[in-house]
């Protein structure tokens, strides 16, 4: 049984971190979805330089640890004269990093729509954008939902990277509470509970959406 007096005594500290983690998650979630979709479109585009740029972006960012991506923004950007806070650097890093996985999930979804669909749409006079918008993407969405929700849940948990660059998130304050109380295990149990408060509803929503889309065919 964890020591609930820690939770009660440091509740304000936990809450500050919790709220910042929610902010960071929401911003990075929207940001990475937009950026990821854009990159996915780049990657399947018929224009070679776009395809090339998309591939380079995905392969470069996705294959280095998130922590290092975030370090680049926090420790590296200032040498270019841009100094952003730990919260901002962490959220940007998270967005840039998660976008690669989202791009890959969306690309896989689009690729799974049979080529005949695209050909049929285009031969009936639809432009590339229209084909995407009305024919391919609605079908791809259904396939993409499960891997996307995985990425979003990962994203929420990955916000913990803010803790190492003084990003004032849940993990940052968790570390502080742990070092003050010396009750490391108990402190992090409560940190875990706060993460669950965010991720469980997200999991549930994903499941719900999946079922609804399956019903609508």
């Amino acid at each position: 049984m964890p020591d609930f007096s820690i939770l009660i005594e440091y509740f304000d500290v936990y809450m500050e971190g919790f709220i910042n983690t929610i902010y960071s998650s929401i911003i990075a979630l929207i940001g990475s979805f937009v950026l990821g979709t854009l990159i996915a479109i780049f990657r399947i585009s018929s224009i070679k330089p776009l395809r090339w740029a998309g591939t380079v972006y995905v392969e470069f960012i996705r294959n280095i640890p998130l922590l290092l991506v975030v370090f680049v923004f926090f420790y590296g950007l200032p040498s270019l004269g841009i100094t952003l806070s730990g919260f901002v650097c962490g959220t940007i890093g998270l967005t840039v990093y998660t976008a690669t996985f989202i791009a890959e999930a969306i690309r896989a979804g689009i690729m799974s729509v049979p080529k005949g669909q695209t050909e049929a749409a285009q031969s009936s006079g639809l432009t590339y954008v229209q084909t995407m918008r009305y024919v391919v993407l609605p079908q791809a969405l259904k396939i993409v939902i499960p891997p996307l929700s995985n990425q979003f849940i990962n994203l929420v948990k990955n916000t913990s990277v803010l803790g190492v660059i003084a990003g004032l998130d849940l993990m940052y304050f968790g570390d502080q509470v742990a070092s003050k109380t010396y009750a490391t295990f108990d402190t992090y149990i409560f940190v875990a509970l706060f993460y669950l408060v965010m991720t469980l509803p997200l999991s549930y929503m994903a499941l719900h959406l999946e079922r609804r889309l399956a019903k609508n065919g």
Partner: protein
């Protein structure tokens, strides 16, 4: 098949080299510590009046220093010499007490081992970044203060922050998570925004990246950072009091007096200032 065998035998060779190297190092260490203990035991049977007499009879001063602490006592892997502020103080003491700075034997101590080693007669003195505290005074005697340690501030040269008084609302102070320095700075400068990092390297990198205005921790660590990057300097007097002293076995007042006399002589002759400047990078404040 042949290739597989060759790889396997190559790995065996590499592994045995490592094991042998490990054994070599290990046996050397035990030999050293054995001789140390043996020397201690034989001296006890001789039983001279005081430890100071004993040191003079044996004509060697055995001093416990840190081997892993930057600026104070660090083993240089290039030449196997232990170097630092504490080491030079040890040599200077040997010169003052025995007339020759080479008559000193340095033994590695850690914060955990130093008091037991002193009380087991394995070492005569501890000069190992040891803060004088009331609690420790019950176990050992201390010399006068030889280094005024305490929490201080590191800033980029030319910073507007010259002391803790210059920290105002909105000043970003960088520190390390879970250190007492965080509590101290929050108490002494409640308006400051304290940003905490996992370790000193990250905190210093953040300071260099301009993510904060100043970095706070023990000045001994800050001087080490200053030595690494001369673009940064320690400002103001330490705002917590953690004076380093030389520890001596309890009851050996003659040795305490001899050490204090030697320290005083070093300070008046300018030798202390020379050692201080060499390692700390600035003149001692007095």
């Amino acid at each position: 098949m042949l290739k597989k065998w060759m790889t396997a035998s190559l790995m065996m060779i590499v592994m045995s080299v490592f094991i042998l190297a490990g054994c070599g190092g290990g046996s050397k260490n035990t030999a050293e510590s054995n001789s140390g203990a043996g020397a201690g035991a034989s001296e006890e049977t001789a039983a001279p009046a005081t430890l100071l007499d004993e040191i003079k009879t044996r004509d060697k001063l055995v001093i416990g220093v840190k081997f892993d602490t930057k600026l104070f006592g660090l083993k240089n892997p290039a030449n196997n010499e232990v170097e630092g502020f504490d080491v030079d103080i040890a040599k200077a003491l040997s010169k003052a007490i025995l007339g020759d700075e080479t008559k000193v034997e340095l033994k590695e101590v850690t914060s955990k081992t130093r008091i037991p080693m002193l009380n087991n007669n394995e070492i005569d003195l501890i000069i190992a970044t040891m803060t004088i505290t009331e609690e420790r005074k019950e176990q050992v005697d201390f010399s006068d203060v030889y280094f005024k340690a305490g929490q201080s501030l590191l800033v980029k040269k030319g910073s507007a922050i010259k002391s803790i008084g210059d920290i105002t609302k909105g000043t970003k102070v960088l520190a390390v998570k879970g250190s007492t320095s965080v509590d101290n700075i929050k108490e002494k400068a409640p308006d400051a925004t304290v940003l905490e990092f996992d370790n000193y390297q990250d905190a210093f990198s953040a300071l260099k990246a301009g993510q904060g205005d100043t970095l706070t921790t023990d000045n001994a660590i800050l001087y080490g950072m200053m030595a690494q990057d001369p673009g940064y300097e320690v400002v103001g007097e330490p705002f917590t009091d953690e004076p380093y002293g030389i520890a001596i076995k309890k009851g050996e007042t003659a040795l305490v007096d001899a050490v204090n006399e030697a320290l005083a002589a070093m300070k008046s002759s300018g030798e202390y200032a020379k050692i201080y400047e060499q390692w700390i990078g600035e003149a001692p404040t007095e």
